[in-house]
């Protein structure tokens, strides 16, 4: 994109206090080299629309705060390159607080409910639980999840069925691998709708940290169906 180009953005606006229905407002921003969607949103805020509400924090793809939908695809605004025509919406299916800001309260409470710590079934005895290098690598790998909820937004099963979402399944898989875990993570996953996954791998394609929640779901399902250790 060169400096002469204009970026046209249809941005979804919603103010619940106004009593009006959500609507799309069009903005035109001069393009800059290497511009990201977050840069566009900030430019709109600074030059065109000072009452625009949006979220961001780290700006380097590590916090997961700036997730939005661009042209119907959930992405990290700080990572996604700006396009000449964009439709920017808040991340679905979460409740919208205002404009691009979503309410993550339900997400946080779901994480709390899952008790995502290695909870022993009984008090620790004399032997400590040893973690093999392979298990440690797997656990640390799954810890890359930044809870951006892009996978949950992209998941068709979340829309259509009683399914918590790939992000929660991934965290349950991570805890199931931990040798000090005493909770039945597979049963927790079942309660969260483990079998509802379509296996489409949309979550894998869109995960900004290159994880595969779909693979974690398959592994949990195999443990459930065929037995074996978690």
């Amino acid at each position: 994109m060169n400096n002469a180009e204009i970026i046209t953005v249809d941005l979804r606006r919603f103010d619940p206090s106004s009593g009006e229905a959500p609507y799309y407002q069009r903005f035109e921003i001069p393009a800059q080299p290497n511009m990201r969607v977050l840069d566009v949103i900030r430019a709109i805020y600074e030059t065109k629309c000072a009452d625009l509400s949006f979220q961001y924090a780290c700006r380097i793809g590590r916090c997961g705060t700036c997730s939005v939908k661009v042209n119907g695809v959930p992405v990290l605004a700080c990572q996604e390159r700006a396009k000449p025509r964009m439709r920017i919406e808040p991340l679905s299916p979460f409740p919208v607080v205002r404009d691009l800001v979503i309410d993550r309260g339900e997400v946080e409470s779901r994480y709390v409910d899952l008790n995502l710590v290695p909870a022993r079934g009984s008090p620790r005895g004399e032997d400590i639980e040893r973690i093999t290098p392979v298990a440690a690598e797997q656990i640390c790998n799954l810890d890359r999840c930044i809870s951006c909820m892009i996978c949950v937004s992209a998941c068709p099963a979340v829309e259509e069925r009683a399914f918590d979402g790939p992000a929660f399944m991934l965290k349950l898989r991570q805890l199931s691998l931990h040798p000090a875990n005493g909770q039945d993570r597979v049963e927790q996953a079942m309660e969260g709708g483990l079998m509802e996954c379509f296996g489409c791998d949309a979550c894998t394609q869109l995960c900004p940290t290159d994880l595969s929640p779909a693979q974690a779901i398959r592994e949990l399902r195999r443990v459930k169906v065929f037995g074996g250790s978690q």
Partner: protein
């Protein structure tokens, strides 16, 4: 062994909204082909009943759309595409659940390619090639 480990570079996640979401495409195609197969079976049922079941023979004069529909060879090509895609993609889902790992993009494109080949072959067969 020299102790080195190959590290896979992170993939580019800066153009997610530009690319086709394979999961959406594969899911919708699987659903559409499933519906197409069911519709074909229903039409096939009606067509065969009209032709071979005495009780429905009176429909021959009323169902004037039936010979027109049956003579459309491209419908058979579409049907074959639908059957092959639906079968292969369904098998891929089952095998994935059983432990095989597939690259979602390559497997989808391969299945679509094989299905298209079957459809083209069906068209060629009707064309006498």
């Amino acid at each position: 062994m020299n102790g080195t480990k190959t590290v896979r570079l992170p993939r580019d996640t800066t153009r997610q909204a530009e690319s086709l979401v394979i999961g959406r495409a594969s899911r919708m195609t699987h659903r559409i082909t499933g519906i197409a197969i069911v519709l074909f079976v229903l039409v096939h049922l009606v067509a065969q009943s009209v032709l071979h079941v005495p009780a429905f023979s009176a429909w021959k004069t009323r169902a004037t759309w039936l010979p027109t529909l049956v003579s459309q060879n491209w419908i058979h090509a579409v049907l074959l595409f639908a059957i092959v895609f639906h079968t292969l993609y369904g098998l891929k889902l089952i095998l994935s659940d059983l432990g095989w790992t597939f690259d979602y993009r390559r497997s989808f494109l391969l299945i679509v390619g094989i299905s298209i080949l079957f459809g083209i072959r069906e068209l060629a067969r009707y064309a006498g090639i």
